[in-house]
Amino acid sequence: MTDEQLHIIEAISLAVMVLLALWSVMTTFLLRAVVGLALTSALVATLMFLLGAPMAAVFELSVCAGLIPAIFLSAISITRRQTALTMVVETKEQIKQFWFLPVLVIMAGVAMTQVHVPQLAVRLAGVPDQDVREVLWNLRHLDLLGQIIILLGGAFGVVALVRGVQK
């Protein structure tokens, strides 16, 4: 595959990702919003693969395109008491109130295509390029400890919240 073909695929993926994110926000039905979120995450994972970040892409695909939509779907199934008609009416009122925001976004996007984006000149001092596993285990081991603590804290927090409600 030539560079030009790769750039075309990347450009199409970027455009579809933005459209899916917009659809996820603007749709009147929550289930469709969750589906849009999952598809957006899948496209972000694809773009990460194209940029040469396979491990982050696998995490993004499995967690953000799989686990998180499943959590949202379970929350929607528990909380879904409003009728579909009520949700549609409320969302239409909100869209009327803030109609100018999507227009501003589109205008900002068009304006940004006319601006020359300078190349990044960031230098990370003294950090040679390593495999992500070496970076996580050797360089960012404190981050790993933090991640474990946050995960445990999240799990215990949810258990505590649910127990408090049941009492």
Binding site: A15, V25, L30, A56, E60, V63, F98, V158, V162
Partner: protein, 102 residues
């Protein structure tokens, strides 16, 4: 006309704006959380893009994985809070949450 990496940056910023829009406009708490997720997607993509441009993909992937894990924990706790609010108030509309105590 920017090159392809300019398009990456522009698309990520547009997705970030879309996420902010959802958080600002939504009164449904679940829809607000979806907006927060979309915001995090753009940040993750920008981190990977920065790693690609600076040839530090190992560090960028480590940061992105850290961000994804924190995002999961945050989402789980936030959904737990939303469910508790629903069980107390019987709705997830932020406009109806006016019973602050204390």
């Amino acid at each position: 006309m920017p090159d392809i990496f300019g398009f990456f940056g522009i698309a990520a910023v547009l997705v970030m704006i879309i996420g902010f829009y959802s958080i600002l406009v939504s009164q449904n708490l679940i829809r607000t959380l979806i907006g927060m997720e979309i915001l995090t997607k753009s940040v993750t993509l920008l981190i990977i893009l920065a790693g690609y441009l600076t040839h530090k993909m190992g560090l960028a992937q480590a940061m992105a994985i850290t961000l994804i894990i924190i995002e999961v924990a945050l989402t789980v706790v936030a959904v737990g809070i939303v469910l508790c609010i629903f069980r107390n108030e019987n709705n997830v509309d932020a406009a109806n949450l006016r019973d602050l105590k204390g």
